[in-house]
């Protein structure tokens, strides 16, 4: 005869195992809203982070490509950029101005599109892992995409930015540290661009600045400063 105590103990053991497995298993089916294209493919969870693993632009691009090509074989990149959101090191403006000075950031966002699925894909990459994946919107044939890997990696972008503008430093205002942007349409044309966003000091005041490079040639295109003026704030021409 099996005792009640033994039954309860074995039920608890089985329950703990099943509970833990269920917690970490992906959902059986993605959450789908019929009225729109909004689908959560992977829900954000801190359990997926393996600890601090800052990635370069190229490494983040590889993670995004790997995930996106499994999503759809024709997935094409619209933009990939580093962000402060979900970056445990980027807490509070002005607290960590040197963040990203080595060309590495912990948190990245990628936007891709698939003509076949007629959808866009939004990825949040933290510490080298896709922690969130969302489908939304539709494939827009008018938005240019980027077929190639970044021609310059972020550590080199920082070096080039500081070479072109020696006073270039980490972010001011809302952005913390240095940020990297790889996007299509950044010049208002289909040409992909690489950008480094930071700040510069002018008469004791710190302004957000952005240094733009051609993805195709690797050449410096322009440096712009974000200023408030009549009619609102805007990126001014070369400083």
């Amino acid at each position: 005869m099996i005792s009640k105590r033994r039954i309860i103990l074995s039920a608890i053991v089985v329950g703990v195992i099943v509970g833990v497995l269920a917690s970490y298993a992906p959902p059986l089916s993605a959450r789908k809203d019929i009225a729109s294209n909004f689908v959560v493919l992977k829900e954000k969870s801190s359990a997926q982070s393996p600890g601090a693993k800052p990635y370069t632009l190229y490494q983040a691009w590889e993670v995004a490509q790997d995930f996106a090509l499994k999503w759809s074989g024709d997935a094409a990149l619209i933009s990939l950029n580093s962000v402060d959101v979900d970056d445990p090191d980027a807490v509070g403006a002005g607290t960590n101005e040197g963040l990203g000075m080595d060309g590495r950031r912990r948190s990245w966002q990628a936007v891709l599109t698939s003509p076949r699925l007629n959808k866009q894909l939004f990825l949040q990459i933290v510490d080298g892992q896709v922690i969130e994946a969302i489908e939304d919107g539709i494939h827009d044939p008018g938005i240019p995409t980027i077929a190639e890997k970044p021609s310059i990696d972020s550590p080199e972008l920082i070096r080039l930015a500081q070479l072109n503008r020696p006073g270039f430093r980490g972010g001011a205002g809302r952005a913390i540290g240095y940020h990297f942007i790889f996007e299509s349409g950044g010049t208002g044309t289909a040409e992909p661009t690489l950008k480094v966003v930071g700040s510069r000091q002018v008469s004791g005041q710190q302004y957000p600045v952005m240094i733009v490079f051609s993805h195709k040639t690797g050449q410096f295109i322009r440096a712009q400063q974000y200023e408030s003026g009549q009619g609102g704030a805007k990126w001014t021409t070369d400083f």
Partner: protein, 148 residues
Amino acid sequence: MDDRLLKILLFLGVCVFTVSVVYMAVHVRDAYAATHYNATTTAYAFGGTGAAGVWLQQYHVANHPPGTLCNGQTDPSGTWAWGTRIVMDGDVLQHASNNNSYYRRTFYLYDNGDVYCEKGMYWLDVHMGRYKTDAVQYGNQWRGYTRY
């Protein structure tokens, strides 16, 4: 009820209870902060390059810059990080470049606006791409949204 059936029921009951407790404990610990707001939302077009330095697309939104005062109170949304994800409670109608209409619910924060806080706390401005008509038709809408 015979003894065997009772034992099976006891096993299943304890098992289900344990699974629930463990599952909830893990999920509560790992949940990222998500907060719901109700606020005035508007729309704009032809944004060009947003305050974060990215070329604005139809999945982008703006909100108040840091330190914006709304009726003497600082709008806390001014400190939200670039890249903050916003999910609207309801769909937003947009148009692709070929004029096809579609719905979108997910937006990412990459721009600033309304520095004098004419729109109130937690205001959001949805970017409509080059569709100024969509922005005008959107007007002022009181909407619910969740910040992730």
